[in-house]
Point group: C2
Chain length 339, copies 2
DNA sequence: TTGTATGCGTTATCAA
DNA sequence: TTGATAACGCATACAA
């Protein structure tokens, strides 16, 4: 039994050919006669040869893998982005490896550094808004694209979903369903939430007679939503909104739970509710939730495209830019009725 | 501006020392005089040198990264495993890279192959039960551990949660809460579910007077649970279970939703419900769900430990084995009352 | 179509 | 403590 795995030169010797020939049949770029090809392939099989990607990328000076540093894998949105990125990468013959930075900027740096050291072909980073400052400085020479947050435009490309449009779509939908008193719930501490609210405001402004109220929440989790719901339940009917735009699905689920448990208000009859994200975590609410679906796959796809573009164009000829992806309205039961 | 990133020899020239010296300050294994160290470090900073991990692992003949091929990243359990694995790997100075096989055995193979080609130090594979046959054959030379499914014991190590124990814990808890008519819901097509049922049966057998009924479901999703709940609601009170052991959290959520919507049965007063997995997707049910928490982090940790063991012992001296991790009962409101 | 030889950027061995 | 140099396994340019 051999100690280390066989190399190309072992294969060459076994097949009675040169290393170059073995390399040629492996890569298929240069023509090789069927006869020798067969001999080489037989030797490869016999020896159980597996090509060494490390030596490969060292010699070739390029790698065929992309690295994706993800801030929150528990969020299905980022998984969708990863899927989109993976597909687009596959089209270009590249593989996508993931690293979980788990909300930690330190781990984010560590993994970016790792990918840089490993000289991957390119790096994707899903980061927090505001934490993308010097990401590019960690990656000199390796193209890097910031995903889901606007990066420093002069140094990196970035891809973001159009949150303003999403808010607009949500509010417009509710108004078209006949709703007139809208309540927006969320915390405007978060930049994406702020953008969503802007879109809601634009939609409301387009429809005279429609009023909008904003309720700040501490966070955008289920418990925050429950508080919003409890508040609505306690109100005088004349003060009550007939529709809620939640800044996130979990928030919407909380609102819904609260209304349902109170048994006094029905969804959507009395209050329509729309969420945001189309998060898997909210797919199973009692009343199926209308929502704005994040363009996760598109974000991932576009990010890889930008990476490939930079890869082909070369670092200096490349102009960094921001690409925006459009979210989509998904109508389910929670807004389906007419008021 | 330089075309490619500076190498050790560039640094050596700039610092007026030899490559070996630079390598020594980089790795810190050999003593270097403070003076030259300072000169080298200055040159490194000045040139923006980043060490080349590819050449590094080629020359050293070893890599410091582990690869984890994950079957379903959308399931928070696997993310927990990844976290546990990452921590343990970190302790050994290794990095963990993830690949999403997304339920596809083909992608699983592809990524295992990729990791083998890249000569990672070791590979973790979270696989489907039954699909682990020839995984080791794809990875000659690279230690591979099967996670969450029993691998072919003679070829690989594997780590699994103790599903039988989990079932036992769940049923015992319910019996201790005074429940006497247990209903187990799930599909015994799935091996893990079958094991959980075995544990439930053992617990029931230990308590004369307690009866158990098994209701097969098509799958273990929320909708399957709703059907189970609907069935319970329609039953004659004397035929009705006072406790449900669901084979999975989502199933339990479905049961709960159905009972709650019916408004005729209360949880846990009339029917206690316990789930399985402690899946994040079920954290926000209306009545907080008691459950059996999967030992995700432990599974990941043990998997890496087995890998390290095989790495140190060497392939031939190493005996492959199966490690089992114990799940834990988590009591929340859905079983907290007394019947 | 196939063989030969050089270099990729490091580590590691052996001298100095 | 430091310097010189041979691998590591492959791609690739060039020669045959």
């Amino acid at each position: 039994m051999r100690r280390s795995s066989p190399s190309i030169s072992d294969v060459a010797r076994a097949a009675g050919v040169s290393m170059g020939t073995v390399s040629n049949v492996l890569n298929g770029t240069v023509r090789v006669s069927p006869a020798t090809r067969a001999r080489v392939e037989a030797a490869i099989r016999e020896l159980g040869f597996v090509r060494n990607g490390v030596a490969r990328s060292l010699a070739a000076g390029r790698s065929s893998t992309l690295g994706f540093v993800i801030i929150d894998l528990a969020n299905s949105y980022f998984l969708d982005i990863a899927r989109g990125a993976e597909k687009e990468a596959g089209r270009a013959g590249l593989n996508l490896l993931l690293a979980n930075s788990d909300m930690s900027e330190e781990k984010q740096r560590t993994y970016v550094d790792l990918f840089v050291e490993d000289r991957v072909a390119g790096i994707l980073v899903a980061a927090n808004h505001g934490s993308t400052h010097d990401l590019h400085r960690s990656a000199p020479g390796v193209p890097l694209v910031v995903v889901d947050a606007p990066g420093d435009h002069s140094d990196v490309c970035s891809v973001v979903p159009d949150n303003e449009l999403g808010g607009y779509l949500a509010a417009t939908h509710l108004v078209e369903q006949g709703r007139r008193r809208l309540l927006f719930a969320g915390t405007t501490e978060l930049v994406p939430v702020r953008d969503r609210l802007l879109g809601v405001e634009r939609a409301v402004a387009e429809h005279p007679g429609v009023v909008l109220e904003v309720e700040q929440t501490g966070n955008v989790q289920v418990e925050d939503g429950r508080r919003v719901g409890d508040d609505i339940v306690l109100r005088d009917p004349r003060e009550r909104p007939d529709a809620v735009v939640a800044a996130a699905d979990l928030l919407a689920v909380g609102v819904q739970q609260s209304l349902l448990l109170s048994s006094s208000l029905r969804v959507p009859d009395d209050v329509a509710i729309i969420g945001y994200d189309d998060n898997r975590a909210a797919w199973d609410s009692a009343v199926p939730l209308s929502t704005i679906r994040q363009p996760g796959e598109a974000v991932g796809r576009e990010a890889v495209r930008l990476l490939l573009e930079e890869l082909e164009t070369g670092p200096e000829a490349h102009r960094h830019r921001l690409v925006t992806c459009e979210p989509r309205l998904v109508v389910r039961a929670s807004t389906a009725g007419t008021s």
